[in-house]
Each structure stands twice: as C-alpha cells, then as structure tokens.
Amino acid sequence: MRRWASLPGEVKFLISVGVLFLVLFVANSTLNRYVLHVITLIGIYSIATTSLNLTNGYTGLFSLGHAGFMAVGAYVTTLLTFPVRLRIAYNLPLLPPFLGGPDYHWPFLPALIAGGLVAAVAALLVGAPVLRLRGHYLSVASLGFMVIIATLAKGLKGLTRGAAGIQAIPHYTNIWWVYAWLVVTIYVIWRLLNSSYGRAMLAIRESETAAQSQGIHPMRYKLLSFVIGAFFAGIAGGLYAHFARSIRPYEFSFSMTFLIVIMLIIGGAGTLLGPVVGTAIVVALKYVLKPVEEGLGVYGLVEIVYALMLIGVMLWRPEGIVGGVNPLKFLFPKKGGKRNAGVSHGEAHGP
C-alpha cells in the first residue's frame, strides 16, 4: 500500500485508467446488453456530474443551469452528425457551406467537440453577467438561463423541431467513447485543481474577499471553471443524444438538473471520485426501483427515494458518501457558520 501511495500521481492515474479499461473490456465481452446499457449511462451522467463538480464543488458556484449546457451540446452534436437523407425526411436543416455543405454530415468526434465548444461559448455569455452574483442569486439566475435555453430549444422549431425533439439519432455512443471521455474529464479537472488555477478556485470558494486581497481576480477563475464545466457538460449532452437516440427540450430541464445535483451531493461534491460514485448509485437505484414502481403502481417512488437520500445527506452527512477527506468548509461547514451572510461571504458585502 505504501508503495502505491509513493508513486507519482501521473503513474497512479495511468495505472488506474489501464485497470478501468481492462475491467470494461471484460465487462463488454461478458455482461448482457442491458447491464452494459446501464454502465454506459452511468458513464455519461458521470461526465455531467464531474463537470458540475468543478463549478459547484470546487469553485463553490452553485449553478442550477447545467442541464442547459447539456442541451446545447446535445443539439449541436446532433445537428452536425445527422445523416443527410434523414434530414430532409425529418425537416432538419442541411449544413451550410462553411460547415461542410448540404451533402455532408460530421463524424462523431469532431461533432462532440464542437458541441462542447458551443456549450463553452454559451457558458461564457451566460457566465459574464450571472457569475457576478452570489449564493442563491447565482442559483436562481442560472436556473433562469436554463429555462431560457430550454424555451429557445422549444421555440426555434426550424432548427430543433421544437417540442417534438429529434429522433433516430445515429447510435454512435458506446462504452469506450463514454469512459474515454470520462477519463479525459477527470484528468483535465485533476490537473486543473493541482495547478495555480485550481488553488485560486479553492481560495475563491473559501472566501472571495480574501482571495481578492491576494491579487486573485475572482471573475477570471469563476468564468474558467464555469466554461470548462460547461464544455464537458456539452460533451455529456452529445454522448447522451447518440445513446438515447432521441432528445426533446423538456428532457433537459429541471428534472435533469436536479438529477445531476442529487448525484453530485450524494456522492460528495468537492471530491474527485464522489460524483462518479453518486452517479452510479443514483442510476443503479433507478433501474432497481423502476420495476417496483411500475409493478406496484406507485409512480414517483424513485424520485421520492432520491429526495429522501438528498435530504438525508444534507442533514447528516453533507460531505456526501466519498467526502470527508477534503472537508468542504464552504458548502458544508460544521455548525457555527455566521448567520448573516453564509460562510464564505462572511466578511463580504460586495459582489
């Protein structure tokens, strides 16, 4: 055990990744399609949750708009990869010349990345005004933006087919794509955290005024974490679209945002693996409970269990299942935080 701990981080990472893919390989060859389906879904949501962790858990910006970025990624990727002959059948636009022309559709990887980038740009635009706000103002404003994005997706019928959504999306997503991207996401966030950027983000989370007095420009770092988080959310959205093969605007609304938030909090915000653990538990639980729900006719059972878990975690173990290694003094301090402004903004009465 000691020898493991003393290995340099990079090596540990590579070995873990190797083990992961070995396990996946075995799983892929032996497990049935249904289980693989679930595992892939866990991977997709893990990307979303991990990316949210960067913004919420590590930088302390409690954004409730993440589903909006997933929507952007999903739609952009889909509109790029959709096969040409089907576009005409489904009333979807053909690609303009600078994107390849009417006879073209993009291969998966570039389309995914494009989706992520557009989501990142959206985050930049949304973040500039919204990230100036604090605490729950930020939350509600980001929620608002998500509603706006969802409404646009419904409204811009020529582009998105409106509320009907897009179906028959090519099934490009498989377990390798998903977990490869998950590894990339975790790697990027890990490296980011261990850099000066990461330290700045943590400083901002603890206390924005203190960070400012050390010469850190909060806005720059908040935007960085928000944008990177959005990029990977866009990736998750794109992966999701080509997995579920159908997307509708209402799917990327409150329910999805809450789902991701629940996964994050239960697993443990502010830890690297917490989001993945939380995601796995929540998704697995759904598949276990859904048959019960339908069998007994108790609709809403799954959400009730989720809600109870969330409340339970908040009341008794706010660091989440994995948490506790890095105590989250910002999001969940021990009792005794100052009443009048919440812990990290204790001294601050400025934006």
Binding site: F62, P129, V130, R132, L133, R134, G135, H136, Y137, S139, V140, A141, L143, G144, F145, V147, I148, T151, L152, K154, G155, F254, F258, V261, I262, I265, V298, Y299, G300, L301, E303, I304, Y306, A307, L308, L310, I311, M314, L315, P318, F330, L331, F332, P333, K335, G336, G337, R339, N340, A341, G342, V343, S344, H345, A348, H349, G350, P351
Partner: protein, 297 residues
C-alpha cells in the same frame, strides 16, 4: 387587437395573476427575511393546498368554507413540519445548503402528491357561484377572479396589520433584521421562525386553491414554477421588504400577462423565459429591487 377592451382585459388578467404571485411572494418573503432561505418547497405547498381543497370539497363533499379552513390548516401544519424536520438543523449554516435541502423537500412533496393522486391532472370544480361569468364594459371575467383579488388584498392587509400591530408580528420584523439582537431581547427565535413558516405556508395553500379555481385544473407539478416565480417577484420588489414582495408579485403578473397578450402569438410559450429574463435584468441592473434594502447580491 389593441383596442381598449383588449388592453383592459389583459390588465385585468394581469392583476388576477399578480394577486396570486403577490400572495406567494408574501408567504415566501416572510421566511426569507429571517432565514435567507429560498424555500423551493413553497411551491409544493401550493400543490398541497389545491389537492387538499379538492379532496375535502370535491371528494368528501364538505361545505366550501370548511374546505377553505381545512386548506389553511393543512398548509400551516405542513409548513411547521417542514421547518422542524427539514430546516431547523441547518440554520446558521450556509444559505446554499438550505437551498439544496429545500429542493430535495420540493421533489419529495411533489412526488408524494404524484404518488397519492396519480400523475394525471384533475379537473377542479369550485362552487358554482365562483364560475359565474360577468361582463363589465366588454371585459369578461368570472366571479372567481374577483374572489381572488379581494381575498388576496384582504390577506395582505391582515398581514400588514399583523406585522405592524401585534407583538409577534413586530418580533418577526425584528428577527428578520437581526437574529442575534432578537435573542438579546428574549425573543424565542425558533418560535418566530415556526410562525413565519406556518403563516407563509397557509397562504401558499390557499393560493393553491385559487390557482385551481382559476385554471380549472390541478396537477402534481403545478406548484414548481409558481414557487420559483414567487422568488422572482421578491427580487423585483426588493429582497427583505414585505410590501416589496407584494408589489413585485403584481408587477410580475402584469408583465407576464401583458407580454403574452401583446407579443405575436408564437411568443406565448416564451412566458416563462420572459419571467426569467426579467429576473436576470433586475439582478444585473438593480439588484436591490424596487423597495429593496441593502443585501449583497
């Protein structure tokens, strides 16, 4: 299309909607003022109120006034329980923790209602006298609209008197300003907070009845947007101000109705987006709202 009666009609609708938002905002700000908690669960109380009335009046067949009283009671009790079980432990901690918990409580309540009542919407048939159509100068409305506005105004007046004249009401205002100073004069903060929750929740419940009566239909998810929009109303009117919350509610109702009424038809589905755009504009341009006091945004 922009004829006088059309405008008047839209304004009337806006006032009715605004009354309901104002009530919701009032109920929410009473708690927010003291705890700095955006109670997402507030929306669930709207739904609970609507279903309670439905159950008591339409299913059990009890008289109208009794059903209303029961609705208020159920709202109050639920509010008290929420405070006791969900929020009390987290007081004094970061606001975000309370927000997350309130989200969890909302999801719990919404799905409990869904479970007990099935996911299908229910037709809501209030007493016949409320459904009567009236026509004044070309503007049509039903008695229920008058009922809503009148009752809302009465509740708001009653509330204003409560916080101005009664010991408990003044104590609430004091606690909202400073919990610590309140303790120094011997105010039992737990008691005051519980009262705030009960009052706010009872008002939310009765608003649920109004909502069902106006729109003729209730469903397990009817409360969510109402709850969030109540917060928007509070921001517009000014955080920490009770009159501000009510003003914000009316403004929101009017803006939403007028926007939908006067923009080209395709924009009707943008009503929620319009509300949130308004929120974001206010947060960016005048974060303290119309009557706002100093609270860092």
């Amino acid at each position: 299309m922009f004829a006088g009666t059309y405008v008047a009609q839209q304004i009337l609708n806006g006032v009715v909607l605004g009354s309901m938002y104002a009530l919701l905002a009032l109920g929410m700000t009473v708690v927010y003022g003291i705890l700095h908690l955006i109670n997402f669960a507030h929306g669930a109380l709207v739904t609970a109120g609507a279903f309670t009335f439905f159950g008591i009046y339409m299913v059990l067949g009890w008289p109208f006034s009794l059903a209303l009283a029961a609705t208020l009671l159920v709202g109050g009790v639920l509010g008290y329980l929420l405070d006791l079980v969900g929020y009390r432990k987290l007081r004094g901690g970061p606001e975000v923790a309370l927000l997350i918990t309130s989200l969890g409580i909302y999801i719990l309540l919404e799905n409990l209602i869904k479970l007990l009542a099935t996911p299908q919407p229910y037709a809501f048939r209030p007493p016949a006298f409320l459904g009567q159509l009236q026509n004044v100068g070309g503007v049509t409305f039903r008695t229920v609209d008058v009922f809503i506005v009148v009752v809302s105004v009465l509740i708001m007046i009653a509330f204003a008197l409560f916080v101005k004249r009664t010991k408990l009401g003044i104590a609430m205002r004091a606690t909202a300003e400073s919990v610590e100073a309140a303790k120094l004069v011997g105010i039992n903060v737990n008691q005051v907070v519980a009262m705030a929750f009960m009052l706010g929740s009872a008002v939310a419940a009765i608003t649920g009845f109004m909502w069902g009566a106006k729109y003729g239909q209730i469903a397990y998810d009817m409360g969510f947007m109402a709850g969030v929009k109540a917060f928007v109303a509070i921001v517009i009117g000014g955080i920490g101000s009770i009159p501000g919350a009510m003003i914000g509610g009316f403004i929101l109702g009017l803006v939403e109705t007028l926007a939908v009424g006067f923009l080209p038809p395709g924009f009707a589905e943008y009503r929620d987006a319009i509300v949130f755009t308004l929120l974001i504009l206010v947060l960016l341009l005048k974060p303290t709202g119309i009557m706002g006091r100093k609270e860092a945004v």
